[in-house]
């Protein structure tokens, strides 16, 4: 199933074009960029979560023989760059001037001849701090008397950021008032971190003669970064080139602009040399975009026989010290309001309150599809809590409430229009693949008191492909994406796309889309991405938006080329364009298939002296901008089987069955690979990964010795299945899939563990279900996992 000798001309399994360089160690990641005369930057960070800066003495650092510049907040203040706007229209300190507001916050930046000297010089900077009490518990951030974190903001007298809601509150309350059954549960989605193996970094090269800034940066959104640099630093946009080279994983961690990037730019301007800045692992985990930290209370209203009638959710969202989340402007809680998930119900309402705490900024990252991870986890946990209370089988309860195929397109109670789906078919397939009845029989046969096994189910619906520009923008930039397709005289093509890749394989799949539409073999299509000087504008790769938006743009631009080719072919064949028929790779005369011209022949003719009809331009090249009419709604059904040792609390994932429906699959091999990765994320978050804090705001997940990633030992051999329900509005019927498994899998794992713990009367326990947490749950003493405060 994994080898493909002959690449398809279009969709299908195909080895990746980009692998040739990667397996030879010839990729170019940002830390591989070495420019003549390049200097190295390093960031001095705060040891305190909350402290007033009394003084900063940089004299000794500046005297270091290999140091070229030391930059502080004061330096930046003079350039009006001490603060920068965030993607959520808040402000964030580039280098702290007044206070530090989280442990690991940027305080000073050293530029030196090499990376070791830069780090040495950090030790020579003397900062005097006056520690302040820290706000660590998001649920206490709005308490009267809580220290005010953002006293830099005029009129800010507490730690409140926003209140936001969706759905019909009155209708929801009315259903609850008349419900036969109401169950409520506090559910924490703790703070985790995307932790791509390549940390964030940049090489800034400002050319004082031309005034051009070239910025190599492992950003997921090069065009958006360029525009923000232009707006923030006042540099003319056409004099900024952002190059996102090979990127070692992103998962949303590499969407925001981080202070280190700005410091690298300033460092280059100040020294007149290129400056490289690469954060280390602790810096990555402590200061860059974390994920989740959603403190939820869910309530379900249902009938006694298990029909879900309404869902009500209240959330405290911990955004850290600066509101730096990246999501469409109108949606401060992202797309959390897709929390009704895959179920038919009468009403729903959510209320989300965002708060500041003395922790790193972020919240929207880690393949979350703009907070759909939290939404899917919440609803799937609540369904299991309801099943627990009603003593119903969780599969049966889900089947009873899933949306039916005839309900699509489905207007959800919170304002979405789900495009297409056949949910019962996907769930049934997953149950059949897992052998659900046999698993339940095995479970029932277990003697009490012995090793436990549990079966967990989750069903998720995602909303991805942001988005329609009338509804969705980031910092005022609409979320449409451009594509340009150029066909050379010999029929080889160059596709330029606005999105970039952090491992998604765009150089292969986008060539396959062109191949599918034009019949040009994928190997004859070069895909250019990740360079703002060479590609059309677009907002980048995150939120599973590439295929829904940029993939659609690619299909549309290829179809434009095909229409241009029809005009040229009509001149070549001396027939009316309307008399031509298309088959993959060729226009031919209707009724006489032998009379035709291949796309390669047409490309050559389009560049030749062939006389073209009035109004028909030469060449086949085309451009487009794609504005999606709606999001796409991939979905899936997952079944997880775990074994739990009640003596130690140790959980072993025995099996994981995943049925995904992401519409038409361009390259099934790549889709399956993305699902595999997301499933591992789910095991990580459910069982291992956690950024916790102590009462002083010290980060307790600041290295890979404390922040535990799943290895090959924790992951089972994944069992994948698929159904295909094309998106009706996407040009090739595809839906996004990059984050589906990360969204859908944590609930399956947690539900499985809690299913195993049922004999102990455990209804709920929060992630991560480490042996210690599982053991405490078995003892009837579950604890909050996010704080080292007992």
């Amino acid at each position: 199933m994994t080898t493909v000798e002959q690449p398809p001309i279009g969709f299908g399994r195909m080895h990746r074009k980009e692998d040739a360089r990667f397996v030879r160690g010839r990729g170019t990641y940002v830390d591989d960029v070495n420019l003549p005369g390049m200097l190295h930057g390093a960031v001095l960070r705060s040891p305190f979560a909350h402290a007033r800066i009394v003084s900063i003495d940089t004299a000794a650092a500046q005297a270091h023989p290999r140091v070229k510049a030391v930059i502080t907040g004061q330096t930046l203040d003079g350039l009006k760059l001490a603060w920068m706007p965030t993607l959520s229209q808040d402000t964030q300190a580039v280098l702290a001037t007044d206070k530090v507001r989280f442990q690991g916050q940027e305080v000073a930046f050293v530029v030196a001849e090499d990376r070791y000297a830069a780090r040495d010089a950090l030790e020579l900077i003397d900062v005097e701090y006056e520690p302040l009490p820290a706000v660590v518990d998001a649920r206490r951030a709005l308490d009267p008397g809580a220290p005010v974190i953002r006293d830099d903001k005029d009129g800010q007298t507490d730690n409140h950021i926003f209140d936001w809601g969706a759905g019909d509150e009155a209708a929801t309350d009315a259903v609850f008032a008349s419900a036969e059954v109401v169950v409520a549960q506090d559910v924490l989605y703790p703070r985790v971190h995307p932790a791509p193996l390549e940390t964030c970094g940049a090489v800034a090269d400002f050319d004082a003669v031309t005034g051009k800034l070239t910025m190599w940066c492992n950003t997921q959104a090069p065009h958006a970064h360029r525009t923000v640099y232009a707006l923030v630093a006042g540099l003319p946009e056409h004099k900024i080139r952002v190059i996102s080279p090979d990127v070692g994983g992103g998962f949303g961690n590499k969407v925001p602009i981080y202070p280190g990037y700005v410091c690298a730019v300033v460092g280059s301007i100040v020294t007149g040399k290129p400056v490289k800045w690469m954060e280390d692992r602790s810096e990555n985990l402590m200061s860059t975009g974390f994920a989740r930290d959603f403190h939820m209370r869910g309530e379900v209203a249902a009938t006694r026989d298990g029909k879900i009638r309404a869902l009500r959710v209240k959330v405290i969202a911990d955004h850290g010290a600066f509101n730096g989340t990246a999501q469409p402007t109108k949606f401060p809680a992202g797309f959390f309001h897709v929390f009704t998930g895959s179920y038919d119900m009468e009403a729903a309402h959510c209320a989300v309150t965002g708060v500041y705490t003395n922790k790193a900024p972020g919240g929207v990252a880690y393949a979350c599809s703009f907070r759909i991870t939290e939404a899917a986890y919440l609803v799937e946990r609540m369904v299991d809590v309801l099943a627990y209370e009603l003593e119903m089988d969780p599969a049966e309860l889900r089947m009873k409430n899933l949306l039916r195929p005839e309900q699509f397109p489905y207007p959800s109670p919170t304002g979405w229009e789900y495009d297409s789906g056949d949910y019962p078919r996907a769930l049934q397939l997953a149950l059949d693949m897992a052998g659900y009845a046999e698993l339940r029989a095995e479970q029932a046969a277990r003697p009490p008191g012995g090793p436990l096994m549990g079966i967990g189910i989750s069903f998720f619906t995602e909303a991805v492909g942001a988005g329609p520009r009338k509804h969705m923008d980031i910092l005022g930039l609409g979320m449409a994406d451009g594509a340009e397709l150029r066909v050379h005289p010999t029929g080889k093509a160059v596709l330029r796309i606005s999105v970039q890749s952090q491992g998604q394989g765009h150089e292969t799949t986008y060539a396959q889309i062109v191949a599918e539409e034009l019949g040009i073999p994928p190997d004859d299509v070069e895909v250019v991405h990740g360079d703002t000087d060479q590609t059309p504008f677009g907002l980048g790769t995150y939120g599973s938006r590439s295929t829904p938006v940029s993939g659609a743009a690619t299909a549309v631009v290829a179809r434009k080329v095909r229409e241009r080719a029809r005009q040229v072919a009509s001149a070549m064949l001396e027939v009316d364009p309307g008399d031509l028929e298309w088959e993959k790779g060729r226009w031919y005369v209707r009724g006489d298939q032998s009379q035709g011209r291949t796309i390669q022949e047409i490309a050559l003719a389009s560049h030749s002296s062939l006389e073209l009809p009035e109004g028909v331009e030469g060449h086949l090249d085309a451009t487009t901008v794609y504005n999606p009419p709606n999001l796409t709604f991939p979905f899936g059904a997952y079944v997880c089987v775990v074994d739990v040792d009640p003596g130690t609390g140790q959980v072993k994932v025995r099996r994981f069955v995943a049925v995904d429906d992401c519409g038409v699959r361009i390259n099934p091999m790549i889709v399956e690979g993305q699902v595999h990765g997301g499933l591992a994320d789910g095991i990580g978050m459910a069982l291992m990964e956690l950024i916790a804090f102590d009462e002083d705001g010290n980060c307790l997940g600041a290295s890979f010795m404390d922040y535990l990633l799943p290895t090959a030992m924790e992951c089972p051999s994944w069992e994948l299945g698929e159904t295909v329900t094309p998106s009706p509005h996407h040009p090739i019927g595809a839906k996004g899939v990059g984050e589906s498994a990360t969204v859908g899998s944590p609930a399956a794992v947690v539900n499985a563990v809690l299913d195993a713990l049922k004999p102990y009367g455990v209804r709920h326990a929060d992630m991560p279900l480490t042996p210690a947490h599982v053991w405490r749950a078995i003892q009837g003493r579950p604890i909050r996992t996010d704080l080292a405060i007992t």
Partner: protein, 158 residues
């Protein structure tokens, strides 16, 4: 101090700080950027290279410790234009996505196959258990190594 290290068969002599890490020596002094750096704490394994034929995490080996020794990196896996079966396996079985962990994974895989030409899935998982991948969920890495193992059998049988 001056060190001499044989890397992928070529001898290199350089003046280095005693504290220079092997990963930085390879990347910054020799320009062998196929070996990556990821965590500083020997957890992630993107920096795995061979030191005298044994996989090591080059972020926790000093360059001076390699003085007089031999190092093999991802750049030394292929024989000219001919890929090592492990490299070919990773391509054929989609054993990589972002590619950042790949060099370290392949170096460990080659070592495993040299010592155990027909490893089971569990043996492969154990061999790479000191290394992280955030993209593949490990499944296709295991398949890639299995592919290389079966290919090795075919080659020796023919």
């Amino acid at each position: 101090m001056q060190i001499t290290v044989t890397v992928n068969g070529d001898e290199h002599t350089a003046d280095v700080e005693p504290r220079l890490l092997l990963v930085h020596f390879l990347r910054d002094k020799l320009g062998l950027t196929g070996t990556h750096w990821g965590c500083d704490t020997s957890n992630c394994g993107v920096c795995v290279v061979w030191l005298d034929g044994t996989p090591v995490k080059s972020c926790t080996v000093l360059a001076v410790m390699a003085d007089g020794h031999t190092v093999r990196t991802v750049e030394g896996l292929a024989d000219g234009a001919a890929l090592d079966p492990v490299q070919e396996g990773f391509v054929r079985c989609h054993g990589l996505q972002c590619g950042f962990c790949t060099p370290g994974m392949m170096m460990t895989a080659r070592w495993l196959l040299d010592h155990n030409p027909d490893p089971s899935e569990d043996e492969i998982r154990e061999a790479i258990s000191g290394q992280s991948c955030r993209c593949t969920g490990y499944e296709n890495i295991v398949r890639s190594v299995r592919w290389a193992a079966s290919r090795g059998t075919e080659v020796s049988a023919s």
